[in-house]
């Protein structure tokens, strides 16, 4: 198991390196400097600014410096916000993003697995169709369309929940964003779960278990659940990534001060330092989450470790 974890970690390194390199050069190749303004800066000041941010060095030198600092955990300066470095801004936003993302992850898994098992056990009965229809809507209707409608219904007309913002971080503020973020993934997970559960329930060892007189509930929970979960677990890695990037738009809609908002603001302001820093941070986080999920997968399915 440790050997597997180590091998998996080794394969993650080139991915991270390529990602960082690609982002760095794409942003450096962007037309127009970060200091282009409506009124051109005096050349002396511009030269000073460029020197301060090391933009006057040759490109490969900038790249190597950036990599070196990144290794030390420094994500670099923001070109627009002077008071905070990229790392500090991310540290401020991260708890919000992780709270919403983590809760959404849990919710998606719980709803998805439960709905999937239900659908497999009561195939093509009334409620299965209702669930399927609801999930189809969740899959197809994008969250930036669902969110405003939910805001109008629950926030404005019924006034049960706040329309947006973070407030004191108590649960009423979290309900809508977490739900909107989780729903499409709950839909995908339940589809996977339903399919694999049906397959497992048709297999011989389940028939044997039933023939031995083990009750339906126990068969499903103790015997069928674990093998049926494997496709779901392998989807969790990508899902964690989608949730993280999906939270960008959810944070924007609900006015949650997470990293996603900083990222959007930076991209709109053409703050290349901040954009680079946040993208690199997102990628590191996603690679890390994928790694964790892969390890969980290997724990669940011993065949994976051997490969």
């Amino acid at each position: 198991m440790l050997g597997f974890a180590f091998r998996r970690l080794l394969t993650a390194i080139p991915v991270v390196l390529i990602a960082v390199t690609a982002c760095f050069f794409i942003l450096r190749l962007a037309p127009g400097g970060p200091f282009d303004q409506e009124r051109a800066l005096p050349p002396d000041i511009l030269a000073n600014l460029r020197a301060h941010y090391e933009l006057d060095l040759p490109l490969y030198q900038q790249y190597l410096n950036y990599l070196w600092r990144l290794l030390q955990g420094d994500l670099g300066p923001s070109f627009v916000t002077k008071d905070y470095t990229v790392g500090e801004q991310i540290a401020i936003g991260l708890p919000y993003t992780l709270t919403v993302g983590g809760l959404a992850f849990l919710l998606a898994v719980v709803i998805g697995v439960a709905a999937g098992i239900y659908g497999a056990l009561y195939q093509n009965k009334g409620l299965d169709y209702v669930i399927a229809a609801a999930l189809m809507i969740g899959l197809v209707v994008p969250n930036f369309l669902v969110a405003p409608i939910l805001q109008l219904v629950f926030g404005v007309q019924l006034a049960w929940l706040p329309v947006g913002g973070w407030g004191d971080g108590s649960w009423p503020f979290l309900v809508l964003p977490v739900f909107v973020l989780a729903f499409p993934h709950a839909a995908r997970i339940s589809r996977l779960m339903r399919g694999s559960m049906i397959e497992v329930l048709n297999s011989n060892f389940i028939k044997t278990a039933r023939a031995k007189g083990i009750g339906a509930r126990r068969t499903v929970l103790r015997h069928a659940l674990k093998p049926a979960l494997t496709p779901v677990v392998s989807y969790l890695g990508p899902a964690a990534g989608y949730l993280l990037t999906g939270s960008i738009v959810v944070e924007e809609i609900f006015g949650i001060p997470g990293i996603g908002r900083y990222f959007i603001q930076a991209a709109l302001n053409r703050d290349y330092g901040m954009v680079l820093g946040t993208v690199v941070f997102y990628m590191l986080l996603i690679v890390l989450l994928n790694l964790l999920v892969d390890l969980a997968y290997a724990l669940l399915d011993p065949r994976v470790r051997a490969r």
């Binding site: 794409i26 190749l29 994008p142 369309l145 405003p148």
Partner: protein, 306 residues
């Protein structure tokens, strides 16, 4: 269980086969798939809805009393009404929402078409070359795809947005360049089995070189996966475009797209709900119909089912 079997029904498949044989038309893969597709009710209804939306978006605009960018000075923020001719109402600038929705649909579809075409072309060529050449080249090319897969693609799209800024069509060609990974993987897998077939061997024996074989003999056999992929990619790109436009990166004024309209409508949902509901409903109808068409195509082309 009924013992009575309708004779005509039971013999129908034979009759069809007989008819085909008489007409001398071989049942090709594509014809077979089309027949299956048209017997799928959800897919057929969706196809009709899709054609209706696209047809309306393309044909109707010149016949409307208003165009998408000229304000009607007599009707600002007007709710939908039949008498004034603003069937979907107008926005804060007095522009007719029906005309804008149709125009936005056109832009969204065009963008999706460009990006899908780019991703199909790149994916098919990349996958076919990788699978056909094989060996080290294949390993290296697929390793690259694996690495690309691990990267969050929406972040790259936003990076590209920052760079390409306002040139929407260039931008979506670039999105297509990021979307080809799945296509490349599927095509490679298909190519690996196709290249062992006799007709490839025959072509090779008669001296055709690698690239013409790929283009003339491998690619035409990939119709199934390509069609399915395209039908699933188009809605994905429509959503990506709407997502970007929603965040303020995508299509810019005075151009418009469904995403831009939804974003504008979401801001004033409380007072002018029609500004969100009509473009939103159009988007959902478009996405739902494409989803069912994609599902139907997958069933129709699925080799496991045959």
């Amino acid at each position: 269980m009924t013992l009575y079997v309708d004779k005509r029904e039971a013999l129908e498949p034979f009759a069809k086969h007989e008819a085909d044989a008489v007409q001398g038309k071989p049942r090709s893969l594509t014809r077979d798939a089309m027949r299956r597709l048209f017997s799928n009710k959800a897919a057929v209804v969706s196809l009709v809805v899709f054609v209706l939306i696209v047809g309306t978006a393309l044909i109707l605009p010149p016949f409307l009393p208003y165009d998408y960018e000229t304000p009607d000075w007599a009707a600002f923020s007007a709710p939908p009404s039949v008498e004034s001719g603003h069937y979907f109402g107008t926005d804060q600038n007095g522009r007719d929402l029906l005309a804008r929705t149709l125009y936005g649909t056109q832009v969204s579809l065009l963008v999706a078409l460009i990006a899908t075409t780019v991703s199909v072309v790149v994916g098919v060529l990349y996958g076919a070359v990788s699978g056909f050449v094989g060996g080290r080249v294949d390993a290296a090319m697929m390793r690259f795809v694996d690495v690309m897969y691990a990267l969050p693609y929406i972040l790259f799209v936003i990076l590209l947005m920052v760079i390409f800024g306002r040139n929407v069509y260039l931008l979506f060609a670039a999105i297509g360049l990021l979307e080809w990974l799945t296509m490349a993987r599927i095509v490679r897998g298909q190519t690996l089995s196709l290249k062992e077939r006799e007709f490839v061997e025959a072509a090779r024996a008669s001296g055709v070189s690698t690239f013409p074989i790929i283009l003339r003999h491998i690619v035409p056999n990939l119709v199934g996966p390509v069609v399915i992929f395209a039908s699933l990619t188009i809605p994905e790109i429509i959503v990506t475009e709407s997502f970007l436009s929603y965040l303020g990166f995508g299509v810019q004024e005075p151009l418009t797209s469904l995403g831009t309209l939804i974003s504008e409508g979401a801001d004033v949902l409380e007072v002018m709900p029609w500004l969100l509901l009509f473009p939103g409903a159009t988007l959902v109808a478009l996405l739902l119909s494409l989803a069912f068409i994609g599902d139907g195509l997958r069933d129709a082309f699925d080799p496991k089912d045959r």
